[in-house]
Amino acid sequence: MAGTTHGARSTVPIATLTLRQLAHGNAVRVVALFAAVPVVFALIYLIGQPTIDRVTFANNLFTHGVAPTVLPLAILILATSALGNEVEDRTMVYLVLKPQTRMRIVLEKLLAVAVVATLLLWAGTTIGFVIVMRGEAGGELGMLIAMLVAEMFAVLAYGALFLLLSLLISRALLAGIIYTLLWETTFSRFIPGVRLLSVRHFVESIYVRLANDPAATMDHPNRLISAIVTLLVLTALAIVATSWRLRTMNLE
């Protein structure tokens, strides 16, 4: 079976391998459920008697539902099953035996996570957005694109962070969930200083700056360029730290 994937030598073999692993696991199904959350909310908005207009609803859905909760949880599940499970299943040894640098392994793992997460999240967001907007979707295309771009940067930053987390502790998924709930969702709402250390804040800043829409607002958004640079620097730091951890950790 699948002679094409096996026959043609992939330029990113570890990423291809990881994609195959993910496709056979339960994680993707769970993540697909998470990614479908905007669709469910959009449908509820559709059947209800709306008290707020469509643009506001779509905006609230992204800033209160997708950015603080759906994004991190979906990426967390993918990231831990891409890298942490290799350690848990004791298959990491075979991966590091190959003549590849550790950095390459981490980068390809991130690539696989990013591809799957981005596709699923984009699909969920787009379908949800179209359901909410219906006929007006075309006019508000800029808002949708802003959401999708912000999601892409979120996937990179969270993906790299959670890859690191999955190598640092054994119960990475649970720890990541608690981090998401407490730090990204609760604390950053009540303690203003936390936002400067919160991925969510920069993701929403990108969205707000790109959408450039009166409905898309938040407290103290960062400038577009500084938000993007911050997230990219965070991603790079996490990749370096993950590679370092992979070099030094005991794989038994």
């Binding site: 909310f41 709306p50 539902g65 054994s170 119960r171 998924l173 649970l174």
Partner: protein, 291 residues
């Protein structure tokens, strides 16, 4: 191999010293008790590396510290504050939710993933015994968080009263409500947690499905409540885990309760019972159906 013609036997059975066990056989009850204790140890991270002990320790601190602080405040400023059990319940139910997310997969998922269930059943333990032991272990651990802080506050209030004995007599109802509340919440989260753990083999994914599922369902049912009208929507709270817990808290211990909970108290138990029945059916399917 020596030739047979030598007249010697070419094979011999050596007694290598295997002995029958002729100590006391402790029986099924002991096996179940041992499994309960062992499961509790695993849940708390005992005999595992220190990283597994962080989470339980943090949760115990998070659940008990508000009660200790309040007891301290009551001791020094008795008339200034009126801190109710309902306000403590918020902290405790949050801690219980996270505790259950870590515990439930620890109870069931590993044994299935590592294919060791057959080893358990080779002992004096049947599948039903196994499940009962796991349920008991989880409920006991959950109870230490559900009851402990509340009882601590109750004891503090009794001891700090002007006349402890008569205060105790007058507030026996409080004690009953604390115990009823703790028991209901423990059973509820244990049922949902074990149902998820019975379906998902990987501990991490099971935790994520449990917490993520509870939060998502709560958010979705909240949105559904806002989007609909009529009397039927008052029943949405029954399938909305966090709102259901808040409603039960409001009903039994006072406090703000839940914004979507408009039912009379005992009706909330329908939601809890439904969760228990669903969990029972799932476990029956996963563990007992093949026999």
């Amino acid at each position: 191999m020596p030739a047979e013609s030598a007249g010697q036997p070419y094979g011999e059975v050596y007694d290598l010293g295997y002995k029958h066990y002729d100590g006391e056989r402790l029986g099924r009850a002991h096996a179940i008790r041992a499994l309960i204790v062992w499961s509790m140890k695993r849940g708390l991270g005992i005999r595992k590396r220190w990283t597994s002990k962080i989470m339980p320790a943090l949760l115990y601190v998070a659940a008990y510290s508000p009660a200790l602080i309040v007891a301290g405040i009551l001791a020094f400023l008795p008339t200034q504050v009126n801190f109710s059990y309902g306000s403590l319940a918020g902290f405790i139910s949050m801690a219980l939710l996270i505790f259950a997310a870590g515990l439930a997969p620890e109870m069931l998922s590993d044994d299935r993933r590592e294919n060791v269930l057959a080893l358990y059943f080779a002992r004096a333990i049947t599948p039903v015994n196994y499940l009962l032991a796991k349920i008991a272990a989880m409920i006991i651990l959950m109870a230490t968080i559900a009851f402990g802080p509340q009882l601590l506050l109750f004891i503090a209030k009794v001891l700090l009263a002007d006349n402890p004995l008569s205060y105790f007599g007058n507030h026996l109802g409080d004690l009953g409500r604390i115990i009823a509340w703790g028991a209901i919440i423990c059973v509820y989260y244990t049922a949902i947690g074990l149902a998820v753990a019975a379906l998902v083999d990987r501990k991490g994914i099971a935790s994520a499905v449990f917490i993520g599922g509870i939060l998502l369902i709560t958010a979705i049912t909240n949105a559904l409540f806002d989007a609909t009208s009529g009397t039927l929507r008052d029943y949405i709270v029954l399938i909305s885990p966090i709102e259901l817990v808040q409603s039960i808290t409001g009903w039994l211990l006072g406090g703000s309760g839940s914004t979507i909970g408009n039912l009379v108290g005992p009706a909330y138990l329908v939601g809890v019972v439904a969760a228990v029945i669903a969990a029972g059916l799932i476990m029956q399917r996963r563990y007992l159906a093949e026999e």
